[in-house]
């Protein structure tokens, strides 16, 4: 595999993944509107295409043609830069996510993953922490009190939950023994999913899930851009395309979180595989997509059922409840793993 | 293909000197504080470069400790800056020269 072939393959893979990601983002918007509607006993978008499937396309076109007005008092450069930062960070996180094991087309067999870094998980953490800049700078550069406050609250929330996110991942690492996501998945063969590593794995999963929701400013934790609170939080001053970018960044983050949770806790692409080799190589991807879809559904489901946290409750819960449990869990798993590395309570 | 060690050292030297210059020229306390962080980063780079050259991982360990200290310093420093701002209403370092509270 010379350098050139490697370059071509990786380019093809990255284009494919980005395309899939963007469509997934668009259709998660659709998913959200449909599910939220059905939760509220109404139909949601049905006019545009069968079951409203083309609604995201319509939204996209709408955003493109909308008037993009930038206020004079705005700190121009950062005002434009921040949505870009947000989107870039959200998308680069996908590069490390494996969504299936290897696939051989003709002479080339490549892992179904853009790149396999042995510090994969760390990179994801790094990227998410960089994501804070987009939000913070957006809030600040639009130069209005609401957006500033919204930006501050959002970044404060993301920072404080980032800590518990990181700590909740460490038990998974202890079980897997490596940062590389592919390695973690391979460790979860034969239904040894981390989720089933009762009780520590499950606890770790729930801590992860909650802090991930907070990271992406979703549902119970979406105070910063809640309409009733701070008008629209940090992206009040944004319109049209820049607003759409924030939207895309948010949903991209949701997708990343969903992928991560499946990989780390629900055994990624592992599932029963049968049929001819081509089918066998594609089935893991199907399993992976099913699990991701489930988590996306969970996102939407939680959003439209749970009430919103007040800001001090949110911070208190983050620091005084979530973080201690994450640490306790970490210590417990550490002890257990050190004591009996391969013990499984649920066989 | 290999890169001579001195290249890394020159880069860290430049970063360090920029940090020092920033410390001297800038008037905003926060910017001064940032130039200190820049100096620390320059040092980190030379740490890692030497670690790579001597094949001793302990060089990298030192980078972690530098980071920890930098984090602690940043936290306390910024708290102080906030406190100074609250009493002095200014961030210009030349006006913060009353040698008393």
């Amino acid at each position: 595999m010379s350098i050139t072939t490697f370059a071509i393959v990786s380019i093809i893979k990255s284009i494919a993944v980005i395309f899939v990601l963007l469509t997934a983002v668009a259709y998660s918007v659709w998913l959200e509107r449909k599910v939220s509607a059905h939760i509220q006993n109404r139909w949601g978008p049905t006019r545009v295409g069968p079951f409203g499937l083309l609604q995201p396309l319509a939204d996209g076109i709408k955003f493109i043609f909308k008037e993009d007005l930038t206020q004079p008092y705005v700190y121009k450069t950062l005002y434009i830069a921040s949505p870009i930062i947000a989107v870039v960070c959200a998308i680069t996180a996908i590069s490390v996510i494996p969504f299936g094991n290897a696939i051989t087309i003709g002479p080339i067999t490549t892992p179904l993953q853009i790149t396999d870094l042995n510090i994969g998980l760390l990179l994801v953490l790094g990227i998410t922490s960089m994501g804070v800049y987009g939000v913070a700078l957006a809030g600040w550069s639009s130069n209005s009190k609401y957006s500033l406050l919204g930006g501050l609250r959002a970044s404060a929330q993301m920072i404080s939950y980032e800590v518990s996110l990181g700590l909740s991942l460490i038990p998974v690492l202890m079980l897997a023994g490596s940062f590389s996501l592919r390695e973690i998945v391979n460790k979860q063969q034969h239904l040894h999913w981390n989720f089933f590593y009762f009780p520590l794995g499950t606890l770790a999963f729930f801590v992860y899930l909650i802090s991930a929701y907070a990271e992406t400013n979703r549902t119970p934790f979406d105070l910063p851009e809640a309409e009733s609170e701070l008008v629209a939080g940090y992206h009040t001053e944004y319109s049209a395309m820049k607003f759409a970018m924030f939207f895309m960044a948010e949903y991209a983050n949701m997708v990343t979180v969903a992928c991560l949770s499946t990989l780390l806790f629900f055994g990624g692409w592992l599932g029963p595989v049968f049929g001819p080799p081509i089918v066998q190589s594609l089935l893991p991807v199907v399993w992976f997509c099913v699990k991701v879809f489930f988590f996306m559904f969970l996102y939407v489901w939680v959003r439209w059922t749970l009430p919103r946290f007040r800001y001090d409750q949110l911070m208190a819960f983050g620091w005084k409840v979530l973080l201690p449990t994450a640490v306790a869990n970490l210590v417990a798993t550490g002890l257990i793993v050190a004591w009996k590395p391969d013990i499984w309570l649920v066989k | 293909m290999t890169i001579p060690l001195s290249a890394y050292l020159i880069l860290s030297g430049i970063l360090f000197m920029c940090g020092v210059l920033g410390f001297l020229i800038k008037r905003n306390i926060i910017t001064i504080f940032m130039s200190i962080e820049l100096m620390l980063n320059g040092v980190n780079l030379s740490f890692v470069a030497f670690a790579a050259q001597w094949h001793a991982l302990s060089g990298q360990i030192f980078v972690f400790f530098v980071m920890v200290v930098a984090a602690a310093e940043a936290a306390v420093g910024l708290a102080i800056i906030i406190a100074v701002y609250r009493t002095r209403e200014t961030l210009n370092v030349d006006q913060v020269n009353l040698l008393k509270l």
């Binding site: - | 001297l24 001064i32 913060v96 020269n97």
Partner: protein, 643 residues
Amino acid sequence: MTQNPYLWLIPVLPLAGAAINGVFGRQSSKKAISTIALVFPGVAFALALWIAARFSSAPAPYYFDLAHWIRAGNFQADFSFYLDQLSLVMLLVVTGVGFLIHIYSVGYMSEDDGYYRFMSYLNLFMFFMLTLVLAKNYLLMFIGWEGVGLASYLLIGFWFTKDSAAAAGKKAFIVNRIGDFGFLIALFLMIQHFGSLDFTRVFAAVQHLQPEVAGTGLLTSIGMLLMVGAAGKSAQIPLYVWLPDAMEGPTPVSALIHAATMVTAGVYMVARSHVIFERAPGALTVVAVIGTLTALFAATIGIAQTDIKKVLAYSTVSQLGYMFMACGVAAFSAGIFHLMTHAFFKGLLFLAAGSVIHAMGGEQDMRKMGGLRKKIPWTFWTMFMGTLAIAGIPGFSGFFSKDEILLATQRANTPLWILGVLTAGLTSFYMFRLLFLTFFGEQRFDEHHVHVHESPRSMVIPLVVLAILAVGGGWMAAPLLWGKANYFAEYLSPVFVANQEAPAAAAESAGGAGVLQALLGAPVIAGLVGLFLAWWFYIRSPEAPRKLAASLAALYKLLSGKYFIDELYAAVIVRPLVWISDRILWHVVDEGVIDGTVNGVARVSRESGDRLRHASTGNIRTYAAWILIGVVVFTSLLLWMVS
């Protein structure tokens, strides 16, 4: 060497008396004070007599080590006491005459309000004098030496309210200290070379010292330094100036200290270290010369004095000169004999002068006296006895002791002998001048101002006793006249065993001829001539002295001005010293150097602090720049050193 456990009691008893009087004196009555002041020295005197009585029973030198004092390496000095014939004589003189003077001063000082203080000082003086006399090593002797100096200072300056008394006390003490300086250096030399200060060990070391070491002037220098000490204490030529001023003190003090005991300490010390002086002929001649010169010099001044106590003071100086002359010609026993007789008649003369002053209500100037013969007969007769004794009239103690000295000097070296005889003449002249001025001629004071009265019994009794001693004291040496050996010299011979073969023997051979020659000897003639001249001047033609004084005005002024020695010392030593300490030591050294450095340091730190203050401007960027400069300098230094 027999152990005698009572030796240490003799000095301690007066100390106890002094302590009790000193502490409880203020609130106890005069009677109680005087009883204590008399009982303790009295017991000491009795103890001394008891020891003297049993003296011949045990082998001569008694010793008693009271306690260890200094143990420094091989140098050792203890509180140990030593008694041999010489110190027994001194002991008897000191305790005897001292006790008599104590009785006398009870009467003399009774109406003085500092009575208890005076008595305790006297006892204290007795304690120090006895330690000096009974010491077994030079260090203990030195304690006594200093103590006696202290006591004399206290007693001279007893009426400290009087400026002149206080000044005289200070002068006495300082001049003594100068003498002690020489004495100390002698002690150091002894320690250095003989390793000890104990008499027996030092003299043994000196005895078998090789000639070449002695030749190097070690012994001569020690001798000379000891002489300086003695000169200081016994008021010889260079350091005699303090004695005439010491007359400021009460008369018993002058009698006890400046006649009988303290001033003789120098002579005793020289006699005690005769072993050193004998092997240092140079030092011995110096002693002799100083002695003679002092004798002559003091006698000449004595002639022109008008104050009765000053005359006696100068006569004491001159008699001490005689004693040193005796020691100088190695006739130590003669010196000690004269010391003893002098203690008797000089003590008597002073006490008599005291009672005259007492009678005259404090008047001391002879020109205001005259014709007291009838009014105070007891004082007159006792004083007359004393004058006869001191003038060397045959039959009285002075004749025996002084002539023996002159006899020894005649044999040793004639020029000193001639001066000696001349001094003898002068002595008798000024003594009889004193006698005729005070007791004969017409009264030069008006009756109703000064009602002359005889002194109380407590003062007269000591006078009588001393008069008897002054007369009888000399007969101990009488056998010399008719050929037998001089009893006193023989008695002292074991102490001065070294020069056994020297003059004493010669005295024996010339036994027979000695009688007549002694009687008609030059000193007796000189004495009689002095008597006749005094009679001629002051009885026959009272105006003669005035005429003579007018004709020899310059000489007379010189003598009455005491050769202006005091002024000389003041000009040569005191004023330059004061100038130096004022101009240089005070302004230049003290203020300039010491204060200068201290204030300098303070000023430097303050100013540097002030200058540095400007460095801390509060501007953070300045600090940063300074830090950077520091870093750069250090790294360049480091690199420069490394490369």
